[in-house]
Amino acid sequence: MVEATQARAFVGLAVTALVMSCRPDLEGRPSLIEEPTVLALRSSPAEALPGETVDYEALFVSTDEAAAEPESLSWQSCLLRKPLTTAGAIHPSCLNEEGTGIALLGTGLSSVSAVDADACKLFGPTPPDSVGGEEALRAADPDTTGGYYQPVVLREASGHGTSYSIGVTRLSCGIGAAAQEQVVNYNQHYRRNENPRIDGIIVNEGNGPTAVFGEDGNATAITVAAGAKVHVEVAWPSCPSKGDCGDGICSVDETADDCVNDCSTPTGCLGSETYLMFDPASRVLVEQREQMRVSWYATAGSFDHDRTGANLPKRANASENGWLAPLTPGTVRFWLVLRDDRRGVGWQAFDLTVEK
């Protein structure tokens, strides 16, 4: 038996060594807020036509209330399509102080600007103009939701240097490379994205749930014990999977012809929406449902996960996370950012008091 155990241990050592290239555990958690930082950028509306006016807003946070509005925040529009060799979200030149292709939109925590009139050529399915009768140029590829985006950059200048945050406005450019019938069908049934909204936050220390932020928008003061494990749940509106004329939501399978009430001025759902997209692999229109992600932030303590959402059924309208309260009493500030995968953004903040 001893020999068998030793043999097993030996083989175990060898196999473990064989298959494990050692990956270091780098320090740092994005969910812990220790210095002024940008947590989210939001375009309202979340999806716009070229030339349409949008509001840009930043969620800029700090442990120090006085630093909550930095001196130098500037909004820039990036007018360069990123090269095929670049894997990131934006052309690298737009993240450079001497970069080209930048248009200043405004300063401060928010800004109002119009989407570039040529955005569908620059970033969308419309091929750019070829020069001098040369070969036709390649249109941009859509993302996994079939969307195209106008990038914007929030530039922050501080004593530590310049930092950049990248946001987007989803473009209503239609679809490219599809059959005419598909284009018509898409234009009739596609619904623009809406920014999601956090409807409620529930904290449970083990003594039963307490709503710290309900649908009425009012916050409730919550106190938890130092070092306590707390479960936090965030919820957003439930969206119908099928059209229900009269529910105030113009769904994919409803049109202005068959449901005037909902679709005369199309209004989307503020949760996980159903949308239409052109699948480039099957080359057909398919209905998809937005997947929601929650980013969790706090000025103290630690979350089980920095972000959640993976294990959600697609129709779920809530996500939960564990949070370990710090041992030091005080007020802890929370920010929860809700994102849908069509790049819509919503957020909410609240405080918890930690006592001994």
């Binding site: 060898a14 196999v15 996994t144 930092s163 972000r307 993976a310």
Partner: protein, 910 residues
């Protein structure tokens, strides 16, 4: 009278010269138990056995009992020293010479006098199956001083020494007679295999080696004044013992390619190769330790030779093109070592017989199918298990089967948690080879065979954040069926025809968060390699052949244009792929039919070999779709064609018996990959990439078994496929041919052959490989560049079956692009890295020490059991294999490679 044919005379030794490339490294596979004969490496003409051809077995060779001396005319003086005439004799069942043909003339009056003298020879008849029989043999008649009056002026004399060794084991052979000039002076090797002649006249001398354990073999040496000659002869032992009294003891000079003159080629016996620490007993794995080969990172097994991409190096097994040399993970090769006779790595400058690759050439040659008995082996360690069985069916049919299968996944299930597969990639693979041979005559062989290989590697990493969840799956494999026909003519010519059919499949699928990536391809290919080699004039041998291959590939791809990444892409480990996606489904056909020719012109008595070659490479490429899919517009196919002339030239100069100089150059083309011809992800208009190779080198024999070989090289590549640098390239031009490359450097290898108990080598390569990515870009280091690669290894036989070995490796870290900052990507709550200059930094250097201990037990006459412990990274060095960053790229660290890794295994051979 009908004659049987005894093939005791084989191929002229210059055959080796003609197929030997200017820069080649050879690793021979271990001799199987009771193996007889040699067989041929891939691409070489076959050698034959010493047997009669008409159904019988040579039981007694002919014996010369009456020698007749040819008398030169009075006063005739040869200015050339000894003169030889090569003849073919037909000997009757009574021992009379009934046929005399001049095979290699020396001119008159020698040819006529030799024929006249030989026709009066009398032999003791040969016997087949114990009965006297007519046979044919080749005979060299040498006009020595006794027949040729010596020049009036005495020649200077030199000392001529050397060692005779077993080619398979490299062990010295004692009691071997070394005779000069037919009936000239004779020496007998001692226990150390050495022989010595003093006072030998300068000029050309025939050398005949005779021993109890091998067929007499001969060669020629040209000795010059003022030099000391110390040569190494390697002979292959025959297993079937022939009583001494039946052995030819006359002045029969057999010119055989079985004898390798070590001054002409660098080779490592495979028995040695399997003993190298870190190979796990896989002979082909030793290639990674040869100079010019970059160290592959853990788990890749990519073969980067002289700074060329792994896909640029072509791999052939027994003349059949296969897509890979190693299984996924790089732990094993795709061919069982028991079947392998040799693997030859030519980093560049190879001859006209091969093409369609910008990089190196790997040719794996099978060992001959065994004619007697049933042999085999079973082997296993924690990674996999393998077995082979080889034998014959009657006199003419032979068969061999080998297979291997990994079991690491099951071992892991035994020792680790069930979810270990979610965190670490576990390679799963198998391979199998089947060979069925028919030997219609001693000069012909026909073989039908199959090769199969399959790999699968997968990993899932599930996180609470959907964007952090990663799934990866990679599977690949190939199958081949081939027919090999080889024939050797009496004039030394060789014919080889190898048609083959097969399939390749590859499937890569990943999902990084919600971003899918898939690339699947299925290829059907038909190929044929055919060649003729033989004498075309005095001192001139020629090769003509046809190298053809047709590939038809169906492909499916979806994901971003930049996934999977290709050479030149700027990335960091763990970075999310681009979320802009597309999809395509297309088919391609690539046809290549390349005739080629090559000459081997021997000058100055064989001291110089001038080897020009020419390859004509027409190529036809077609596809199912020329533009990306759009609506209901039907796909429009296309055809592109081009043709390239590829001149090749190699020159070898044996300046002295201990110094060999060589140089080579050549032009090479490589067709585009089918996966690059997508109108969505690539460019259907892509043509062939081009490279020129230039190399020069020297090999110096500096002592008993000790040699130094050094080579300098330059490779210039153009029209390489790269990504378009434009933000909005033209439609169907995501890839362009704007890339250029250059690789240059040198390598040196100091090697100690097996002497008594020790062998090993020290090699160092200094290689710089660079690329440009198109207009406006400058040369940058190639992604897999390793400027310095140093390897030192040795193995020592302690006796009584114990062996110890060790290997030390050092290499420069691979280039990486520094992350100089990051922007917050508020779209996904992540970060986008900001990069510095392309490939301007490197991973830290790599150091590793490996060790191996083995003990062999012998059972009976032919069975052996071996147990070994192969420990990699003995010092537990934490070698960085990749850079990794934290979530916002503010901190970096390294993923380290294998910690100390003990692998215990065993092999039973019978």
């Amino acid at each position: 009278m009908k004659h049987s044919t005894i093939t005791v005379t084989l191929v002229a030794s210059c055959l080796q010269v003609s197929v030997l490339q200017a820069q080649s490294l050879t690793v021979d596979a271990p001799a199987a138990t009771n193996e007889r004969g040699t067989g041929a490496a891939a691409g070489e003409p076959p050698h034959t056995e010493g047997k009669a051809t008409e159904g019988g077995k040579l039981t007694k060779p002919p014996k010369l009992i009456r020698f007749e001396t040819a008398q030169l005319p009075p006063g005739h003086v040869s200015s050339l020293g000894p003169v030889a005439v090569n003849l073919e004799l037909g000997i009757s069942a009574e021992g009379r010479v009934e046929l005399v043909q001049v095979v290699e003339a020396a001119g008159e009056p020698y040819d006529g006098l030799a024929k006249d003298a030989v026709s009066r020879f009398l032999f003791e008849p040969a016997e087949i199956d114990g009965k006297p029989a007519a046979v044919r043999l080749k005979y060299r008649y040498v006009f020595t001083d006794s027949a040729t009056p010596s020049p009036a002026k005495e020649s200077p004399v030199v000392t001529f020494t050397g060692v005779v060794r077993d080619k398979t084991t490299a062990k010295p052979l004692s009691a071997v007679k070394v005779r000069l000039d037919g009936s000239g002076p004779e020496a007998i090797t001692g226990e150390d295999g050495r022989f010595s002649f003093d006072g030998i006249a300068t000029g050309s001398h025939s050398v005949l080696l005779m021993g109890n354990s091998f067929t007499p073999v001969g060669t020629e040496e040209t000795l010059e004044a003022g030099a000391k000659y110390d040569v190494v002869y390697e002979v292959e032992l025959q297993v079937e013992k022939v009583p001494d009294e039946q052995r030819a003891d006359f002045e029969l000079v057999v010119i055989a390619s079985k004898l390798t003159k070590r001054m002409e080629a660098v080779s490592v016996s495979s028995e040695q190769a399997t003993k190298v620490a870190g190979t796990g007993g896989d002979a082909i794995k030793v290639v990674e330790n040869l100079p010019g080969v970059a160290r592959s990172s853990v788990g890749s097994g990519a073969l980067v030779v002289w700074g060329a991409g792994s896909a640029d190096t072509r791999v052939y097994v027994e003349g059949v093109h296969v897509p890979v040399l190693y299984h996924e993970g790089g732990f094993r090769s795709v061919v069982h070592s028991d079947l392998v006779r040799s693997v030859e790595l030519e980093p560049g400058g190879y001859g006209a017989a091969y093409g369609r690759g910008l990089g190196g050439l790997v040719t794996v040659g099978y060992r001959p199918l065994e004619a007697d008995g049933i042999h085999g082996s079973v082997a296993g360690d924690i990674i996999d298990a393998a077995a082979s069985v080889r034998g014959s069916i009657g006199e003419r049919f032979r068969i061999s089967v080998a297979a291997r299968k990994s079991h690491l996944d099951r071992v892991l299930g035994w020792v680790a948690s069930d979810d270990v597969g979610e965190f670490v990639p576990i390679p799963r693979y198998w391979d199998a080879q089947l060979r069925f041979g028919y030997v219609p005559s001693a000069q012909e062989s026909i073989e039908i065979g199959t090769m199969s290989s399959s790999d699968r590697i997968s990993r899932s990493f599930v996180q609470a954040d959907p964007l952090d969840t990663k799934r990866e799956l990679k599977s690949s494999g190939f199958h081949r069926v081939y027919l090999s026909y080889k024939k050797q003519g009496n004039d030394g010519s060789q014919v080889s025809v190898v048609p083959y059919y097969g399939t390749n499949r590859s499937h890569i699928e990943s999902r990084f968060g919600g971003i899918p990536a898939e690339l699947s391809s299925t290829t059907k290919l038909i190929g044929m390699r055919a060649s003729w080699y033989g004498p075309v004039a005095e001192q001139l041998y020629g090769t003509v052949g046809l190298d053809s291959e047709v590939e038809s590939t169906s492909l499916i791809r979806q994901g971003s244009v930049s996934t999977p990444p290709r050479e030149g892409d700027i990335r960091v480990f763990g970075q999310a792929p681009d979320d802009q996606v597309n999809a395509d489904r297309w088919e391609t056909m690539i046809v290549g039919v390349a005739p080629y020719g090559q000459l081997d012109w021997s000058l100055l008595g064989g001291k110089i070999h001038f080897i020009p070659g020419m390859r004509f490479e027409p190529s036809l490429r077609g596809g199912s779709r020329f533009t990306p899919p759009k609506g209901e517009v039907p796909a429009i196919g296309y055809r592109n064609q081009d043709a390239h002339v590829e001149p090749r030239l190699a020159v070898r100069y044996s300046a002295t018996p201990w110094l060999l100089l060589r140089a080579a150059t050549g032009r090479y083309h490589q067709p585009p990959l089918g996966e690059d011809l997508s109108p969505v992800f690539g460019n259907p208009k892509l043509g062939a990439s081009q490279a020129w190779h230039y190399l020069f080198g020297a090999q110096v024999q500096i002592g008993e078994g000790l040699s130094v070989e050094t080579t300098g090289f330059l490779s210039r590549q153009s029209e390489l496929t790269t990504r378009s640098q434009l933000s909005s390239p033209a439609i169907a031009q995501a890839l362009v041919q704007d890339g250029k490359g250059r690789a240059y450097g040198g390598q040196i290898m100091l090697r100690q052959e097996m002497t008594r108990s020790l062998f090993g080598w020290v090699s160092y390569s200094l290689i710089r490989s660079e690329r440009t990515d198109g207009e406006g870009t400058t040369y940058r280091p190639f992604d897999f560049d390793q400027t310095h690669v140093f390897t030192a290894l040795a193995s020592y036989d302690l006796g009584k079956g114990f062996e110890v070995g060790s290997r030390f490796r050092f290499s420069s870290g691979a280039p990486r692009t520094e992350v100089v900052g990051a922007a917050y990507d508020a779209r996904v709550d992540g970060s986008q890295p900001l990069f510095g200059r392309h490939n301007a930094t490197r991973l830290p250097n790599f150091y590793q020490l490996d060790a191996r201990v083995a003990k062999a037990f012998k059972f009976g006459k032919t069975s052996t059991a071996e147990v070994y412990l192969d420990v990699q990274n003995v010092t537990n060095q934490k070698n960085p294999e990749e850079v990794v960053y934290n979530f916002d790229y503010s901190k970096k660290s390294f993923i380290t490679g294998l910690p100390i890794l003990p692998v215990i295994g065993g092999k039973l051979t019978w």
